[in-house]
């Protein structure tokens, strides 16, 4: 299940819903990304995310399908906020369920690397010094590369 939504959501609700879908799994890994209250030493008042539908949703769906091909997953969930959000609010929730834990950990990790560097979103932070568009960090691109190396070896 994939959702790109412009309203706040609660991580605890997302995981409760996912648990119901994941019946029979032995292992559930979740990642939750939250708006950080500070960035580069400045207070963040608002984080804003843009998407480009349906390219954004299609891209996430492809990534979920790649994850399902690579790992034996019993359920996968990606929920991503767009629009304006405040510090502490959830930006993204990824959940992966499997019979054993390694597949669930790796699939959640893989999907986050996709979302950080390839998913069709643009984000800006509003701080006292102004509006700053944020691009992926070098570490984010390095993290993504791990999956290509793993494939090649």
């Amino acid at each position: 299940m994939i959702r790109v939504i412009d309203q706040p959501f609660r991580i605890s609700d997302a995981i409760a819903e996912f648990e119901a879908q994941a019946a029979g799994a032995g292992a559930i890994v979740t990642f939750s990304g939250l708006v950080r209250p500070r960035a580069k030493g400045e207070e963040v008042s608002t984080l804003h995310l843009q998407a480009y539908s349906p390219m954004t949703e299609n891209g996430i769906r492809d990534a979920v399908n790649r994850a399902k091909e690579q790992w034996p997953l019993t359920a996968v969930q990606v929920t991503h906020r767009i629009g304006n959000m405040s510090p502490g609010e959830a930006i993204v929730f990824v959940a992966a369920a499997s019979v054993h834990r390694r597949a669930a950990f790796e699939a959640a990790d893989f999907l986050m690397d996709y979302l950080k560097t390839e998913a069709v979103f643009w984000k800006k932070e509003v701080t006292p010094s102004g509006v700053h568009w944020i691009e992926p960090r070098t570490e984010d691109y390095h993290d993504r590369e791990r999956w290509n190396e793993a494939k090649g070896s």
Binding site: Q50, P54, F121, K123
Partner: protein, 82 residues
Amino acid sequence: MARILYFGKLSSIFGEMSETADLPASISDTAALRTWIDQTRGFDGVLLHPSVRIAVNNEIVPDPSPVSDTDEIAFMPPVGGG
């Protein structure tokens, strides 16, 4: 009339997320469009950077790809969510 979309920092530079535009007859591919929009909308070279990708009708295409006056054309700087 083509519909032109500006995402991320490009929307801040242009001041809007989109516009509709009559493409001049001389603009028939993405490379030509990139240069024309960059010059006429005050992007001052930003659109010429290879990290800015172009999507035609929701599909990312390499330069030069055909564009016509009925397309939705998006200028996309580096992406990333999460």
